[in-house]
């Protein structure tokens, strides 16, 4: 393997990497810290880093002001529902593209990706009208559908790249062993692709969780997820740093924790399956 790295070189690398890592992470850290300060300490000059009286008052203030649980639940349903629905539609499509490729497969894939490029704003009003007519404006089911369609190209693409790594011989073996198409996908392909599917689910869950165009424009009171919850702090409440921080922390904590626990799949998912 590689030659011995000098201790000094490794120390420099470590210091540099940690310095930059902490710098990048700092806004999040600062938000979390500020959420435990009083409003006065939050804007103190010079800023207080750790030596302050920790308080939970901001969290209770935020909870009083709005029904956090409801926003959270909406976020979970919308992100989870759209991701699962997307996977159900995408798995068969990705199977077709990966294992029965035709001359048009690449074109279809690129076309799907290109629908992602259609500016949402260009079709905002039509969708708005359709939603009113269907009576699903400001409903969770409406957002589940829209976000599923939004993320479908990415889900198909990611699954396609993961599936392509599975040797086609194994699927042929299943066919020779007497498996029907359904059994082949259910018993052989899906279990083998679990890591890839997990990465896809995680990444798309996060994308849907953080999606802030449709969720802001198609919801009001009933179906509003955390993106709307936090947008309501835009002003003038934004000037109350501690409460803003508490609300922010509450909005991002679920994803940060999820990310922490599923790091490996996430790292693979974050590359959209495109780079090995």
């Amino acid at each position: 393997m590689a030659r011995a790295v000098t201790q000094q070189r490794k120390t420099i690398n470590t210091a540099l990497a940690w310095g930059i890592g902490l710098l990048i992470f700092f806004p999040i850290l600062w938000t979390i810290l500020t959420s435990f300060k009083t409003e006065a300490t939050a804007i103190a000059d010079p800023p207080v880093f750790l030596a302050f009286d920790w308080t939970l008052e901001n969290y209770s203030a935020v909870m009083e002001r709005s029904n956090y649980a409801r926003f959270l639940w909406n976020s979970i349903i919308i992100a989870g529902g759209s991701t699962l629905l997307g996977i159900l539609v995408a798995v068969p499509a990705a199977w077709s593209m990966a294992f029965v490729p035709s001359k048009r497969t690449k074109d279809i894939l690129l076309w799907m990706l290109s629908t992602k490029m259609l500016p949402a704003v260009g079709v905002l009003y039509p969708i708005y009208l359709i939603f009113i007519n269907l009576g699903i404006l400001d409903s969770r089911i409406g957002l589940v559908i829209v976000l599923m369609l939004m993320n479908l190209p990415i889900i198909v693409w990611m699954l396609y790249t993961y599936f392509r790594e599975i040797p086609v011989e194994i699927l042929e073996a299943a066919r020779m062993d007497g498996a029907s198409l359904k059994e082949e996908i259910l018993y052989v392909l899906t279990p083998m692709a679990i890591p890839g599917i997990a990465s896809t689910v995680l990444l798309n869950f996060i994308l849907a969780w953080n999606e802030a165009f449709w969720t802001l424009n198609l919801t009001a009171a009933n179906a509003a997820p955390l993106t709307a919850f936090i947008a309501s702090y835009s002003s003038p409440e934004g000037l109350f740093f501690a409460k803003l921080s508490a609300a922010s922390t509450m909005a991002i904590a679920p994803i940060l924790i999820l990310g922490w626990f599923s790091q490996k799949q996430l790292v693979s998912g974050l590359t959209f399956g495109a780079v090995k």
Partner: protein, 334 residues
């Protein structure tokens, strides 16, 4: 039962015809080897029989019934793949059980067959391991076990030994041959290695560019190759093929002589040449002889050891009764 009949079968990928119209009958219980250089269509032919590819025209019959449009799962054939194609997420036991699970074989019957297969293939201690924890040879045996338990009417092997190292390859060759002796089931075996073909087959089908060059038993192919291609392909080291005046002396366009059918002397003989490289294997010595005036280098094989140096003069005499003659079309002349 396991008779397989191909009737005017062709296969094209787009414009390219990889299998021209082809007829072939594989008898029940026969060990048939498809052999040929890479790209000759032997794997494609096997996949056509398996049903993993559609045939472009013609018919395939299995045991007298038309199987042309029957999906692979319903043909009752088992296949062992080059990469073994084990299911990595299943234990060895589950891998072997999979075809029976698909066929809804009762649980206790499944277990009985798994135990029997594991015993026959020396896998009993590994039944609960995952394929990733096995060596190449063990994986190969699991793949064979998986194909045995469903009691197919024929086994298809697609270059099953090419991923194993040389020593294992010889061992597995024997195991597969023994398996055939025991089961007496039809086996079709694809390989590019003529040694495997010679040692295992009842019947060899030599393919080139989708055409069947010759069908016959190993010794038929060795003793009377139908054309220059088969002559050059079967046998190791390769037959020496000589064109030009020397061939015309025998009334042929090309003559062929196997390295083991040439007598060698240091003092006199029909052809004179110089020693190039001598390969000493202990039991045999292969000598590559240059400057014979016959065109290409001539290879000869001598039993035992012989002391020659690079550049030594050497005399070769072919055994005339073992000489193969081919006409201008490359076909065998009797």
């Amino acid at each position: 039962m396991g008779q397989i009949k191909l009737n005017q079968v062709t296969k094209s990928f787009g414009e390219v015809q990889v299998i021209p119209p082809l007829d072939l009958t594989i008898e029940d219980g026969e060990f048939t080897v498809f052999v040929g250089p890479s790209g000759c269509g032997k794997s494609t032919l096997l996949r056509l029989i398996a049903g993993l590819e559609d045939i472009t025209s013609g018919h395939i019959e299995i045991d007298g019934a038309d199987a042309t449009n029957v999906p692979p799962a319903k043909r009752g054939l088992a296949m062992v793949f080059q990469s073994y194609a084990l299911y990595p997420h299943m234990s060895v036991r589950k891998n072997i059980a999979f075809p029976m699970k698909m066929a809804a074989v009762p649980e206790d019957e499944q277990n009985r067959r798994i135990e029997a297969a594991a015993k026959a293939l020396n896998l009993t201690d590994y039944l609960d391991r995952k394929p990733g924890q096995l060596s190449g040879g063990q994986r190969q045996r699991v793949a064979i076990g998986r194909s045995i338990v469903r009691e197919p009417s024929a086994f298809l092997f697609d270059e099953p030994l090419s991923n194993l190292d040389a020593a294992l390859r010889v061992g597995m060759r024997l195991e597969i041959s023994e398996l055939h002796e025991r089961l007496k089931t039809t086996m079709i075996y694809v390989t590019h290695d003529q040694v495997e073909a010679m040692t295992m087959a009842d019947k060899i089908v030599v393919l080139r560019a989708g055409f069947i060059e010759q069908v016959g038993s190993p010794l038929e192919l060795y003793h009377s190759p139908r054309n220059e291609f088969v002559a050059g392909f079967i046998g190791s080291p390769k037959m020496n093929l000589i064109k030009g005046p020397e061939a015309e002396k025998h009334g042929a366009s090309t003559i062929g002589i196997r390295p083991e059918h040439t007598d060698v002397s240091m003092s006199e003989g029909m052809w004179e040449g110089r020693v190039g490289v001598a390969e000493h294997l202990g039991s045999d010595t292969f000598i590559h002889v240059h400057d014979t005036g016959l065109g290409d280098m001539i290879t000869v094989r001598i039993t035992g050891d012989i002391q020659v140096k690079h550049g030594d003069a050497i005399y070769l005499t072919p055994q005339l009764d073992k000489l193969h003659k081919f006409d201008a079309q490359g076909l065998r002349m009797e």
